[in-house]
């Protein structure tokens, strides 16, 4: 499969806790992106990490990339109810096409 495989498929946590989502893939990539989708704001780009980068931060988000293991993780710290959404690992390979995974559904309980 050319798409990333997210794990877990669903995650439920309490507000204030951290949420970690993982993504494994099989192809070579130029970059890996994470997107969020909820009913309020639709599908939104969160962060992009290039194949020569190992870690990237954006606000409460931390993304890691291990190209030797072909895996990435997204950490959301101090989660809020507004973080409730589906999170997609998105691969950008040699064609420039974005390949979306199935997504992880995150529920943050107030």
């Amino acid at each position: 499969s050319q798409q990333g495989e997210e794990d877990p498929q669903a995650l439920s946590i309490q507000e204030g806790e951290n949420a970690t989502m993982n993504c494994s893939y099989k192809t070579s990539i130029n970059n890996l992106q994470w997107y969020r989708q909820n009913s309020g704001r639709g599908l939104v780009h969160l962060i992009l990490i290039r194949s020569n980068e190992r870690e990237k931060h954006s606000g409460r988000l931390r993304v890691t990339l291990d190209t030797s293991k072909k895996s990435s993780s997204l950490l959301i710290t101090a989660s809020r109810a507004a973080d409730t959404a589906s999170y997609f690992c998105v691969l950008n390979g040699n064609t420039g096409k974005l390949i979306f995974g199935q997504g992880t559904t995150l529920q943050v309980k107030p």
Partner: protein, 114 residues
């Protein structure tokens, strides 16, 4: 800055009918994408335009789906005739580069085929 606009937001049709969706990308974005998102799955690329030329339509079911991007700005996606399995959200996105970088998505059109 205005985002990607799509219309209609919702559409219900009978199978074998035709339907069209419209997208207006962010001003100045040369690349425009149409995705199909079936419930519970991630978006799947149907077609990518660079200005008014097609870059990738490998996953577009060409026997029933067609798309055009007149003058390299607005785009329409048409389904004729629709099948039950076409029920999905159709998302339009645009980006300032040819591909591979951040894409900006519209709110989508939710299509129900009865």
């Amino acid at each position: 800055e205005a985002g990607v606009a799509q219309s209609p937001r919702y559409k219900i049709i009978e199978k074998r009918q035709s339907v069209a969706f419209w997208c207006n990308p962010i001003s100045g974005h040369a690349t425009l994408y149409w995705y199909q998102q079936i419930l519970g799955q991630g978006p799947k690329l149907l077609i990518q335009f660079q200005n008014n030329g097609v870059v990738d339509d490998s996953q577009l079911p060409k026997d029933r789906f067609s798309a055009e991007r007149l003058k390299g700005v607005d785009s329409t996606l048409k389904i004729q005739p629709a099948k039950l399995e076409d029920s999905a959200v159709y998302l339009c996105a645009s980006s300032s580069s040819r591909g591979g970088n951040e894409q900006f998505f519209g709110p989508g059109t939710r299509l129900t085929v009865l």
